[in-house]
Amino acid sequence: MLTQPAITPTLILAVLICVLPRHLDAGPPVATTGDRICIVGNTFAERMRIDGFLETRLAVRRPDLKLTVRNLGWSGDTVELRPRPLNFGSLNEHLARQQADIVLCCFGMSEAFDDSVDITTFRQSLLQFVRNLQNTTYNGQAPPKVVFVTPIALETVDPRVDDVDLRTERLQAISRTISEVAEQTSSTAVDLHTLTGNLIRENPSQRLTDNGIHPNEYGYWATTAAIADALVGPATAWSVDVDTATQSVETSDDANGALLVTLLPQSDDQEVMRLRVQTTQLLPPTAPPDSLIHPSLSNLLPVLTVRGLPEGRYGLFVDGTVVAEADSGQWAAGQVLSGLPAAQRTEDLRTVICQKNEWFFHRYRPANSEYVFGRRTKPFGSVSFPPEMKAFDRLVEQSDGTIHGLSRQKRTETWSLERID
């Protein structure tokens, strides 16, 4: 399952390129304590079930909020067309069953490929779609908060994408429309289209999609950070900056208090630096192995900078285990720490999240639905499935508890830098 080798080569794009323009409104986070987030939309939404990055980010950044996430996405869905099995139930029914507080809407990619949908119609359907959400109470108290995600940009390097110019143009128009509708309806939009367009353009060696239109694992790793920004606010930046000459340490998170780093006296001659690292947050999820990470995303990774080291090669030991090796110059430039032992705890959390997603999938969209609620429920399905579906509900809810438990872990580690040449 989700395991990582101890030391994963994680590369940050070496060339310094222009800083990403952030089109995100830096408004306050959307989510509040106990919110249930329901993801709706197309293949982009549905495939979030596979690697669980979004929910992992939410849990890691704000364990205190105890958010829960249900993915109601369905491949190929559009704002207007969402075919379902017989008796499946409407979107409103499912949002009500899930008591949605936040609806995260991912539409537009399918529409961009269907030339019979014109942009005006799309705008009208989308408005109608939002108005319906904003006029319905699913959680028993208030209508949901609506967050849009614009479709990602085409990765035109993929030779399998047809009519690149037309598609690009339509995707832009659709993304613009989504942002405008969000503005018009006082909801939030996450502009993945611009973000991914920049990532693709500035970092062509790192593929963002599988097939030109759907994010690959790196793509989800990268894009979910922006969605999480809108939902719960930005991540704690795990950067620790030590100056051995002045014996001073700085962290990027001084205000937040999630990361507390203090310098300890060296224990022996080998050691050139000793730190106590106290955290109340898990590390953000590690990027997929061998990915070439765009610099604008480097704040999603833990970075240790040690300046003032004498020439030489140094290893970083965490609780006695080596996790990174570099030359003094490299340490001074900052090293991404992808092999921290604590990363495993985030991976454990992600495993549970993915497990929950799988169980929820079997519940929300069970195989053999014709027998679960369709025209063939009798005589067998009507006996077997009601209790089994309840059991799945129970498993999913228990998993929520496990996720909240796993994401609230304090940890103290000792980091030491030793000369190894």
């Binding site: 491949s75 799988e358 077997s384 499935f385």
Partner: protein, 1415 residues
């Protein structure tokens, strides 16, 4: 501390035990009987709450015929905190198996003694979870030896430490197929923590658990020091023979929540069976439990032997063949589908999670690779290539890996480091439907040109986003997919049901096995998504997988047959495929394998690298999840087999070396006669470097010898190979298009479908392709013309349709018709604008009218207008456009037509038929009528037309006009209608129409007129009154009808016509039923109407009751209904006589053949019964006769459709989609009726069309048993098995005068008017079904699709004479294409039991033929 076995608690506990045992007796046959094994549960802790979970489990165990006693503690017994220990343990002395769930006990001496005595006696022991640390005596106490000893010596491991969080549990890989794991999910999440375990070497671990530790490193507790890593794996369940010789099963599972999941319960039930040496397999005990579950309806047979050899011995194999076991569990279990790779390894999808994931389960279905590494004809190596799948329904090799159906995802799995285990897993596409996993994308296969095909069944909604757009498919069809560019297309959108097989022959002829049909797929692949009705080329019973067989290992006569699997009847069957015009004919042949073993479930068949056939066996008593509960305990997850079928005495094919040799060498094998090899060559080329592959192909083509008899085929293979690697070779394409072999030309035209925009000088020009297709569409061979029409559909050019229509210049057949209609439709956006602009020229006006008449738009009106204006008009030519007009024309368009009709009929008075043909008038008027009644479209100007029609002296035309008067509500015609009714000479049919129309006009004078009619004393007048009033006042009409029915029937106006008027109106049946409640019905009326109701399948209870068709109290039916159906089924099995039953089935008063047929002979409204017994058990058949609506067979569901006009249409549901409902209407002999959605008010699921009260037509209960036993025997091995030989079964018989001349005229007369008769199952036409007389003629018919000779095997040979098409048969019977009659003149006295005629194919120049079936 002191306890006594006489304490009140002990009595209470004993009482619980007895109580459980008593309740067990109710549910299981031998529970509670002294012979039943006694399971004693010892619950010695409250930790994990076994005092709650174990008694519940014990109750469950009793269903399997165990006696159980649960020894429960009062209070917490750990460390003897309750002061009483565990009283009641003396019951262990009587235990056949003890199940311990204990923790840290410090039992008093005598209590411990009971346990000591039990375990040291070597009796079977089962231990759960904390029982590894069952005791905690102080260190110095000698009994402290049990502290570690109970775990170590009795169970196999003591306690060490446990981890944190949940545990992932998986089968130990080499224990796959261990029956103890039957029904235990292959991987599941156990909510409990993982215990560290250390097992003795001779223990057998069954399940491994993996857990995570929060604290890692070296950890010391009071049980020792442990090295703990973040992730640890230890056994969680195992078997062992313990140190006292006792059979032991132990598990560290047993958390309270574990008992809520199915896994632990199944595991324990299995283990306890095993411990007391009861069969763990799908044996009688489990069958008994399954059968008594409330949700189970259909018992299946039972077996005692489950080993491969027993299964093999139950095979009946076709002469010349033999079967050997190639692979069996544990190498593979629950196999679904398979494919070969170029190295000759067999890749199999296996699913133990089928039919549905259970709560807590993590589906862990696998792809297994099987290899015969030493070439001894048996697989010897099995590798798990991939796992973690969820009901993978198909796979194919490609791009160095394997593509897998894992709905909703399509995955690509690949091994990159050579260990034959997938290390790359990509989700290639998402969004394949999951509504019913037996309809999920399945039967995967590469086609000859490098597209991958897979099918989806009905009910499904698929939406897949691809970089070329979203692909959607509803209710099934065929996909084609080219992974290299992620090009997914709907290849055939048609009325799919269960498409579980798709195969190509050496020329690319493709057959889709969509149960129970075998379709010639090609016409359905047109570039249109319209779903037109399409007849299959053959039918079997449900079939799965299979393919065209070929190769040198098989004798010639078997080449190019389709071998496929009738898994329901445990049969591998064969079909002969012949040419039939542009399409194919299909004949079922004697099966390859028939098995008596009900677990033999062939689901796939593929030819192997050695030229033998390999049969994949989902060895299982149960097959589907529609027929049996999802959680039926008999579902087996521990068996699976592959059988190899070889021809005795013929050498196998030498396995070709296709990989790790130069490509030239591989490509040379494109000449091999084995389809397997040529297919694999193309797979190797596809994965190779395209340039190298193209080079190899170029040398291959250059090396071919034009005089080689296989030249045309070699060239075709090369062309496909180029298509596969996606390199356009235009010269080769042009060469093959000119080949002298028609099927090579057809294949090349197909390749042109995909290459048209890449040939010639200018890219994307349609010119070069159109030039080539102009020639192909005029080809002398219909198959080439068919492909040309289809390919034209893909060329986006207005001229394509004009070229396609040129196919009309040569003979058409239904395949060409279908393809042309779809092509005309699909090309619409390209040619219709050109046609409107007047820039499109057709080769002839007929072509143009064909195209226009097959439009879904309204150009058809113009066609009709043109035809009518031209004067002389052929009514048949009007029919096509008229259909489109009726379906789609607007009121404005219809007005044009009406005005034309005014002109058309103007001169009738003076010029008569020369001016206007009444038949043409009827066609036009019917279309107008349909448009009005089905869509409410009414043109203006009608009042001018109608009077002109009444001037035409043709009753039918006038009836049509009258119906229009009603539909259009032309009030000005009211007077004429009244006059028509008054006039004595008016035809009764016209009077009825007029009365009905008056009812629709419903003006004041009309109401009064009808009311007066109704009050008339004359029954004819009254009838007309009723017919009219029904539209105005149902109750009043019903009251009058009721008085009419009290008198004898009127021959001019039969009572059933009156009843019809009511049945077809909303509330009509109720109104008439209520009125009849008060009136006596004349017996003649009653019997006439009752027969009519049966005929049309009307089931309205009040009507059935009123006309005497209900279930009378005390009648035979009533008595049978009151019996227990399972017992009745048992009596059918034991006392029914199928031979007598067959005679009863044939009695004319039962009218079985009116709706049903056996092997095609008989009615087509109900299902073919030839194999009903192999698919259904006796209780189902009993229900089918007594309670037909309860058990409607799939595809025979009925719909009751209520239209917006209040009409009611009942029939068998053929199709239901967004636009329409199509039903097969029994009132019209099974014709299909289409009702557009916008006219439908309501659709209800209808009852079975099978009439009630059948049993009352039997003389006694024994006759019922006989009839049911006959049906149950149909299709089972024995006297009533399906015989697929071409026997004449459908007859027309008549007695003829001694002196009459028997000629073609007489034969035709007998065919038209003779009495229907049908052969027995064995094929004999029994003598008692022949009419009285000394000279009787029996006529049957034969359809010939390819001309040639036939032979006749006539028994007895004493038949006086045989006539073919009315002429005495010659020595050698040569038949042209078409339908032929075969007449036999005989003296019934001289033919013994009866006449049996089988049509045979002579050795040379045989015709392709099929006996005509049907009612």
């Amino acid at each position: 501390m002191k306890t006594s076995h006489t304490s009140p608690i002990c009595l209470l506990l004993a009482a619980i035990g007895i109580g459980l045992a008593l309740s067990g007796r109710v549910v299981a046959d031998d529970a509670g009987s002294p012979d039943a094994p006694h399971a004693v549960f010892v619950v010695g802790t409250h930790h994990y709450e076994p005092h709650e979970t174990i008694p519940k489990f014990a109750e469950r165990l009793e269903q399997y015929g165990f006696r159980t006693t649960v020894v429960l503690p009062e209070g917490n017994p750990e460390h003897n905190r309750n002061g009483k220990g565990l009283p009641g343990l003396e019951v262990l002395a009587d235990a056949d198996v003890a199940i311990f769930y204990m923790r840290f006990l410090a039992l008093p001496e005598e209590q411990l003694a009971h346990i000591e005595k039990y375990v040291t006696s070597g009796k079977p022991v089962i231990g759960l979870r904390t029982s590894t640390h069952a005791f905690y005596y102080p260190k110095k106490d000698p009994r402290s030896k049990w502290n570690d000893g109970f775990g170590r010596d009795v169970l196999g491991s003591r306690y060490y430490i446990h981890l944190q969080g949940q545990t992932t549990v998986e089968h130990v890989p080499d224990q796959k197929g261990n029956i103890l794991l039957n029904g235990v999910p292959a991987r599941f999440i156990d909510p409990g923590t993982l215990y560290k375990v250390e097992l003795p070497e001779d223990a057998v671990p069954l399940l491994n658990g993996t857990g995570r530790a929060r604290k890692t490193g070296t950890i010391t507790n009071r049980f020792g020091t442990h090295q703990i890593e973040a992730e640890m794996t230890w056994p969680v369940a195992w078997t062992w023979t313990n140190t006292f010789g006792g059979r032991t099963f132990a598990t560290t599972l047993g958390h309270r929540e574990s008992f809520e999941l199915p896994a632990l319960n199944r595991l324990l039930v299995n283990a306890i069976h095993w411990a007391v040496d009861r069969p763990v397999d799908i044996a009688r005990e489990k069958a008994a439990v399954a059968r008594k579950m409330p949700n189970l309806k259909r018992p299946v047979g039972e077996l005692d032997q489950f080993d491969p050899e027993s299964e093999r011995q139950a095979f009946e194999v076709l002469d010349g063949f033999e079967v050997n076991l190639w692979a069996a569990e544990p190498m593979l279990v629950n196999p679904i589908h398979m494919t070969w790779d170029a190295q000759g390894r067999l890749w199999v999808c296996c699913s133990t999670s089928y039919p549905q994931v259970q709560p807590g389960e993590q589906p862990n279905d696998q792809i297994i690779v099987l290899e015969d590494t030493d070439g001894d004809g048996r697989a010897d190596k099995s590798t798990v290539f991939a796992d973690g799948l969820y009901v993978p329904t198909g796979l194919e090799m490609g791009d160095g890996g394997v593509y897998v159906a894992n709905a909703p995802d399509l995955l690509f799995l690949k091994d990159t480091d050579g260990d034959l285990k997938a290390d790359v897993r990509e989700v290639v596409l998402t969004g394949f439907a999951t509504e019913d996993n037996h309809h999920s994308i399945s039967a995967w296969r590469w086609g000859p040109g490098g597209w991958l095909y897979f099918q989806e069944g009905t009910f499904m909604h698929t939406q897949v986003e691809t970089p070329h757009g979203v692909v959607r498919l509803e209710n099934g069809g065929v996909f084609q997919f080219r992974p290299r560019d992620l090009d997914l297309r709907v290849y055939a959108d048609y009325r799919a049901s269960n498409p579980w097989g798709h195969t190509f022959d050496r020329w690319g002829t493709e057959v889709l096995i969509d149960n129970p049909n075998l379709y010639f797929l090609t016409p359905l692949t047109a570039n249109s998504r319209a779903k037109l009705a399409y007849q299959s080329s053959g039918r079997g019973t449900k079939q799965c997988g299979g393919e065209f067989v070929s190769g040198r290992h098989l004798p010639d006569e078997f080449q190019n047959q389709i071998w496929t699997n009738q898994y329901k009847s445990n049969t591998v069957t064969r079909y002969e495929i012949t040419d039939d015009g542009a399409g194919i004919g299909v004949n079922e042949l004697e099966p390859l394998i028939r098995s008596r073993d009900i677990n033999f479930r062939p689901v796939d068949l593929k030819m192997g690298p050695d030229g033998a056939a390999y049969v994949l066996d989902w060895y299982n008593p149960l097959i589907g999840h529609m027929q049996h509960s999802f959680r039926d305990e008999r579902r087996d997850t521990t068996h699976g087999r592959v059988w190899r079928v070889t021809y005795r005495g013929r050498p196998l094919v030498e396995k070709p070396q296709l990989v790790r040799v130069p490509l030239e060498q591989t490509v040379a094998h494109l000449k091999d006669p084995e389809d397997w090899t040529r297919h694999q060559v193309k797979r190797v080329l596809s994965d190779a470097d395209p340039r190298a592959a193209a080079d190899a192909l170029e040398s291959f083509v250059a090396s071919l010898d034009r005089d080689d008899p296989g030249y045309a085929h070699h060239l075709t293979e090369a062309l496909w190979a180029y298509q596969t690697i996606d390199v356009v070779n235009e010269d080769l394409l042009r060469d093959v298009l000119q080949s002298d072999h028609p099927k090579a030309r057809a294949a090349a035209v197909r390749v042109l479908r995909y290459w048209w925009d890449r040939i010639g000088d200018s890219a994307s020009s349609t010119e070069p392709a159109l030039t080539l297709l102009e020639q192909a569409v005029a080809d002398e061979h219909p198959r080439v013309r068919l492909e040309a029409v289809l390919t034209l559909g893909f060329i986006p050019d207005a001229r394509s349709v004009a070229l396609a229509c040129r196919v009309l210049d040569q003979p058409m057949d239904r395949y060409l018709e279908h393809a042309l209609k779809l092509t005309v439709d699909g090309l619409q956006p390209h040619w219709l604008p050109a046609h409107r602009a007047g820039t499109l020229t057709f080769a002839s006006p007929d072509h143009r009218s064909y195209a226009l008449s097959n439009l879904l738009t309204n150009e058809a009106v113009q066609v009709m207008v043109d035809l009518l204006n031209a004067g002389q008009v052929n009514a048949d030519r009007l029919k096509g456009p008229a259909e489109a007009v009726a379906r789609t024309a607007t009121a404005a368009q219809l007005e044009k037509l009406v005005l034309t009709m005014v002109e058309y009929t103007r001169e009738y008075n003076t010029r008569g038929r020369d001016a206007a043909d009444p038949a043409a008038i009827r066609v036009v008027l019917d279309a107008l009528n349909t448009a009005a009644r089905t869509r409410g479209v009414k043109p203006t100007g009608a009042d001018k037309m109608v009077p002109r029609i009444y001037a035409v002296p043709d009753v039918d035309a006038q009836v049509a006009a009258t119906r229009l008067v009603g539909a259009w509500k032309i009030a000005s015609q009211s007077r004429r209608l009244q006059q028509l009714i008054r006039a004595e000479e008016t035809d009764p049919a016209l009077k009825l129409a007029a009365a009905s129309a008056l009812g629709e006009l419903a003006g004041r004078s009309d109401r009064q007129f009808l009311a007066r009619l109704a009050q008339s004393k004359e029954s004819g007048q009254q009838t007309l009154g009723v017919v009219g009033l029904a539209a105005i006042d149902l109750d009043r009409a019903a009251a009058v009808a009721a008085t009419l029915f009290a008198s004898p029937p009127d021959s001019n106006f039969p009572p059933e016509q009156i009843v019809e008027v009511f049945i077809q109106r909303r509330g009509g049946g109720d109104a008439l039923g209520a009125a009849l409640d008060k009136e006596e019905v004349h017996p003649d009326v009653a019997s006439q109407v009752a027969a009519h109701l049966v005929r049309i399948g009307e089931q309205h209870p009040a009507l059935v009751e009123a006309f005497g068709g209900g279930v009378a109290p005390g009648s035979l039916e009533d008595l049978l209904m009151a019996e227990d159906r399972l017992e009745l089924a048992e009596d059918v099995r034991e006392h029914g006589n199928p031979a007598r039953g067959e005679r009863i089935f044939r009695r004319s008063e039962l009218a079985c053949f009116t709706c049903h047929n056996i092997s095609g002979a008989g009615g087509i409204i109900g299902p073919d019964l030839a194999a009903v017994g192999s698919a259904y058990q006796e209780d189902y058949i009993v229900d089918s006769i007594l309670r037909p609506s309860k058990v409607i067979k799939e595809f025979f569901e009925t719909a009751v459709v209520l239209t917006d006009e209040g009409r009611v249409i009942t029939g068998i549901l053929v199709l239901s989609d967004d636009d329409k409902i199509v039903v097969r209407d029994p009132q019209q002999g099974g014709a299909e009726v289409t009702i557009p959605t916008d006219q439908i008010d309501d659709v209800a699921k209808g009852p079975s069309l099978m009439p009630r009260g059948l049993a009352n037509k039997l003389n006694n209960r024994q006759e019922f048993l006989d009839l049911a036993s006959f049906l149950a025997a149909l299709g089972k091995p024995g006297d009533y098995q399906r015989n697929t030989a071409p026997i004449l079964r459908r007859w027309r018989v008549a007695a003829v005068e001694e002196q009459a001349t028997i000629d073609a005229g007489l034969v035709d007369h007998v065919l038209a008017t003779g009495q229907p008769a049908y052969g027995l199952v064995d094929g004999t036409l029994p003598v008692e079904d022949l009419p009285e007389g000394q000279r009787v003629i029996a006529v049957a018919e034969l359809d010939v699709s390819e001309p040639g000779a036939i032979g006749l095997k006539v028994e007895p040979s004493a038949v006086a004479s045989v006539l073919v098409d009315g002429h005495p048969a010659t020595e050698r019977i040569e038949l042209e294409r078409g339908r032929h009659s075969l007449a036999f003149v005989l003296d019934p006295a001289s033919i013994g039991e009866g006449l049996r005629v089988e049509v045979t194919a002579p050795k040379s120049a045989a015709a392709t033929f099929k006996p005509v079936t049907g009612p």
